[in-house]
Amino acid sequence: MKLYEHEAKSIAQKFSLPVPKGFVASTPEEAKDAFDRLGKPSMLKSQVLVAGRKKAGGIRLASTSGEAYRIAKELFGMKIHGEPVGKILVEEVVAAMRELYVGVTVNRSVGRYTVLASTEGGIDIEEVASKSPERVVRLDVDPIAGLRDYEARIVGRKLGLSGKQLIDIAVTISKIFRIGMTYDCELVESNPLLETKEGGFIAADFRVLIDDNSLWRHQEFQERIRRRDAEFTEIELRAREKGLSYVELDGDIGVIGNGAGLVMATLDMISYYGGRAANFCDAGAGGATAERIEAALEIVLSNRRTKALFINILAGITRCDDVARGIVSTRKRIGMDLPIVIRMVGTNEQEGRRILEEAGISFLDSMEKGAREVVARSKG
């Protein structure tokens, strides 16, 4: 889960990692007050979770208190890539000598955390890494021992730093790493990390991405998801509450299946035959029961773009009769007047087929046939 910049920065402060002085505002009045408290030209930064807020005009400089009020009013009325601006971080402008990058990320191929650092901060680090890999210092960290202080100093030396600055950057890197460990981060990064005129380092931007699977260890953020204050759409949140894995897509064919790989392959098949899926929905975690199929159907059908539906079940732990019962009962309860294609094979297949046949619902036995058929019917 992504944290808002202001949340990430309040974590930074807990670890005494320097960040620019700033205040969070929820109204233009509060933004003006914040500006007055800072008493100098300040940045107004929209607090959104989508990327690219700067290019979209979500970060603006205010020179006077009146201007702060006016800009805040504009920002609060804005949607950045569809996400409304609920809070603004009003923050002092820090003069910088240089912009650096320091991040800690999960290195999937070696199964370790990797510290990444560069003196080319302020821009997309992936771009730096692909164009001039020698500009990015990397260090894989032993997951049992953690990052040693001397390792942080090695990174600092490789960045070309020395003297007091070397000590300072090592301390900064260690703090960022500790934040990563404490919050089970998939990613924690400061980009840019500013080198000030005095030679110190300040995290001008700070991003924290928490591993969703660790949220039970971080109840405060678990709560925030329940308050619907996260990067998910309404439908995605409802799916999450029902324990379904759901991602909204931009096509018009609804998809329900059991198993992440099977559902991904189903989306690919639909595209192969010239259609576009409206969603990804895996109802299979731990077995797709009748209740889960009902929940999945309600969620998928609540997407108004859905013109046809493909249910693809390869039953292992899941039982075809349960799936069939879920489909039949949902049709009775909420009606389903769109074309539906069902592919269903595996455990209790005969019983499942009997239930569907009795209800007058047809089915197929291969996902290729199913995908071809649903694409044809979505167009007809």
């Binding site: 199964g111 049992i144 089970d184 969703d212 660790s214 790989g261 991904m264 392959a265 989306l267 291969s366």
Partner: protein, 291 residues
Amino acid sequence: MAVLVGKNTKALVQGITGSQGEFHTKLMLEYGTKIVAGTSPGKGGASVCGVPVYDTVAEAAEAHEIDASIVFVPAPFARDAALEAIGSGISPVVIITEGIPIRDTMEIRAIAHERKIALIGPNTPGIIAPGECKLGIMPAHVFSKGKVGLVSRSGTLTYEIAAALTNSGLGETTCVGIGGDPIVGLGFIDFLELFAADEETKAVVLIGEIGGNAEENAAEYIKGTAYPKPVAAYVAGRTAPPGRRMGHAGAIISGRTGTAASKIEALRGAGVHVAEKPTDAAWVLASLVGK
């Protein structure tokens, strides 16, 4: 011969008294897997499907000869359970549990590596040697003893393709899920090595999906070693949007890494037959190695 498990494997089930643990213990026993003991802290002395339950792995290992463990323990306790099995020197350890924090898996993986323990998973359907041993939650009926080794990041796609291999008459030597999480124990390359050394395995199917670069690394390995057996592959997620997690914790395109296109290109570059549709992988192999 099957790899890592076989008809003489004597297995331990950790978390045997939970609903999943008990349900699958029954199914594994029905398949013919030799399950000699189970563990569940606080429930020592009980019995599940006739299998004796111990409080600790150490006690189970003292009373029985054990050479594999399967873990059904819920995510918050899974690290401890896996480390307990590793601590007793049991190998392989198969972790079925989904939803284990990445940081916990990193620790399990590092310690397993240090102790030279074969770790499978987490978030895996397990491993099956058709007709000999099922150490997992896969539906048994889609598998049949034969000559293809199958290694996969996805459960249901494994079943889809295994069923096609079975229907084509090829059958399988061993099918294994390496797990759908970003970080897992043994990977594609480890199993490619095992399959290369296994005489009965005549060809390999590799099932990948978006996220990370395990498929690219496997392609490099296949190319670099001039892999001795034909390999077919399927990669799921060609149409997945970047930045979104597609069901599995590990199935996510991050920035520029993890796209299906990059994986398919790498595999094709290594001479792997990448199928357009899942079941095509089986037909491709049938034509390559003959029935």
